[in-house]
């Protein structure tokens, strides 16, 4: 088991290192000069030259790469060209918003997806089942960013049921930072007005980001439940006179959970993708927007920082899923 984890971690670090090399050279062949782009067309030449020297951009690319790695080993990601701050600090500031959004999204996706899937399986072939399957097909086919826009239009602009984009209303100030997660910090500060407002802001983007996961989990839950419900031990449980509720939730769901876990893992990775689009639509100050603006402004240090973080999170999530799989199903053993 431990040997397996070590091997997987080694492979993952190899992959992350490879991604770094690819992205580094990719981002350095982008035509155009990021410094000139930041300073604007009016900037005198010597100022541009000066800034280029300061960020080491006047060096050959291989040398820049060597310097980058040397700094990385010391835990220094360099300074962002756009914000003029250490990239580490930027990441620390933007990461919590994404974690908050992604956690809320996966919670909604898992809870709603499991329930919808179980209901659909129990109602198999009935109108309710057909309705669920039709809706999930539509849900799977919609672009998330479009769904976000439409929901924002209906529930914010037309019905005014939820607050608009952003994490908080403008007139509210952030609770004192403890964890960086606004909802948790508000709770810790016992500031319930802020907590309520933050939850309201979180609702729509979390539903949008979690929608694909919800549909995917509902579909696999339905399929898995249908298979398990046909098994002999379920028939036995029914024959024993157990209530339908006990049969479905205790006997069937528990055994049907295995394939569902894998799918949850796959969708967790997908959340990072969806976050880029969802954060753009909802003006959510998270990692996705940071990555987008970094790539658009050719902010090398920021691009590399985001790359490392995303690749690490992604690889670790995959490893955790595999381990959870082995843990839940003793028949699978990793050497």
């Amino acid at each position: 088991m431990w040997a397996y984890i070590v091997r997987r971690l080694a492979l993952a670090s190899l992959a992350v290192a490879g991604v770094l090399v690819i992205v580094f050279f990719l981002s350095h062949i982008i035509p155009g000069d990021p410094v000139a782009a930041i300073l604007g067309p009016q900037a005198p030449n010597d100022v541009i030259e000066d800034l280029r020297r300061r960020y080491g951009l006047d060096r050959p690319v291989p040398e820049q790469f060597y310097r980058f790695v040397a700094r990385l080993v010391r835990g220094d990601l360099g300074d962002s060209l756009a914000t003029h701050r250490p990239v580490i600090r930027d990441l620390r500031e933007f990461l919590p918003a994404t974690i908050e959004l992604a956690t809320a999204a996966i919670l909604i996706g898992v809870l709603a997806g499991l329930s919808v899937g179980v209901i659909s399986a129990v109602a198999r072939g009935r109108p309710l089942d057909h309705a669920v399957r039709f809706l999930s097909l539509i849900g799977l086919s919609m672009p998330v960013f479009w769904l976000g826009l439409i929901l924002l239009f209906i529930f914010y602009f037309k019905l005014n049921l939820v607050p608009g984009p952003g994490q908080l209303d403008i007139f509210l100030s952030r609770p004192p930072t403890v964890t960086g997660l606004i909802t948790v910090d508000a709770l810790l500060a016992r500031d319930f007005a802020t907590l309520w407002n933050a939850l309201g802001h979180l609702l729509l983007p979390a539903v949008v980001l979690g929608s694909h996961a919800l549909v995917g989990i509902a579909r696999i839950t339905r399929a898995s439940m249908l298979e398990v419900l046909g098994q002999d031990y379920v028939k036995v449980a029914r024959a024993k006179g157990l209530s339908e509720r006990t049969v479905v939730l205790k006997h069937a769901l528990r055994n049907g959970l295995l394939p569902i876990i894998t799918v949850i893992g796959i969708y967790y990775g997908g959340l990072l993708e969806g976050a880029v689009l969802t954060e753009t639509v909802f003006a959510w100050p998270g990692l996705g927007r940071y990555a987008t603006s970094a790539i658009l402004s050719q902010d090398f240090a920021a691009i590399m920082g985001v790359t490392i973080l995303i690749a690490l999170v992604f690889s670790l999530a995959n490893l955790l899923v595999d381990l959870a799989y082995g843990f839940l199903n003793p028949k699978i053993r990793y050497e």
């Binding site: 492979l11 992959a15 490879g18 799977l140 086919s141 479009w146 249908l226 880029v276 658009l296």
Partner: protein
Amino acid sequence: MNQAVAAPTTVAAQRAQRRRLISRALANPLSLAGLLIIGLLLLVALIAPWLSPYDPIQTNVPRRLEAPSGEHLFGTDQLGRDILSRILYGSRISLRIAVLTAVIATLLGAPLGLISGYFRGRVDDLLMRLTDMFMAFPRLILAMAIAAALSPTLENVIIAISLAAWPAYARLARSVTLGLREENFVEAARALGASPLRILGRHVAPGVISPVVIQVSLDMGGIILTAAGLGFIGFGAQPPTPEWGVMISEGRTYITDQWWVSTFPGIAISLFVMGFNLLGDGIRDILDPRLRSVRG
């Protein structure tokens, strides 16, 4: 993601299986509906110039942001262009992205997977570590980085998504090859002294093609959504191209009062993706009867 499809062992059996699959796909209501939607979109893309009431690029600023009416069925956008015409022309772009990405990703992934699975050893290790690298990263974000490096144009979107998508097909091709290379008919060809190239090309490749093509068709919806996402955040096709993702992005500013600018292109994307998802569901039903919808 990869659904290993049992590979039939002889060329004749493969051909028979393919024929069976096609006839069953036409008999399955899900995949038939999907095929109909895709066929309809193909037709629309083909005859877009004759269907479109207006020019998709020509601006007409005095008539900007007009609500849907008899004259402009889907209304006009911020530059007075007819949204219906832009959507009709946009189908050509989405179709081109989908088809070319599928072809390029398959052509990259399948041969590499074949080589990797057949020769094993160093080559295999190297290629698999390479796919690890690509798969250690979400597809959209990788495509964003590549598209930005290549400068955002339609062609580069296709290249970027293909580069981000091929590893999955390489892995699938590899796993099918691993099974096929132990088969008797491959063994026999080897014993007769056939060159590796001949064995791969004539005996192994035919068995690898159908599972890969099936997987590509299952992924097609995701590919179209990725392309639209790239267009939406500005890494894809650029205005004034009537790409659907770009159109949604342009309409964002007007969503409060002129909802039609963003809404109709979104419906078009959803419909297109739904066609491929329906087809995929049908194929999955046929290949894995345990998941079959109602009868079971």
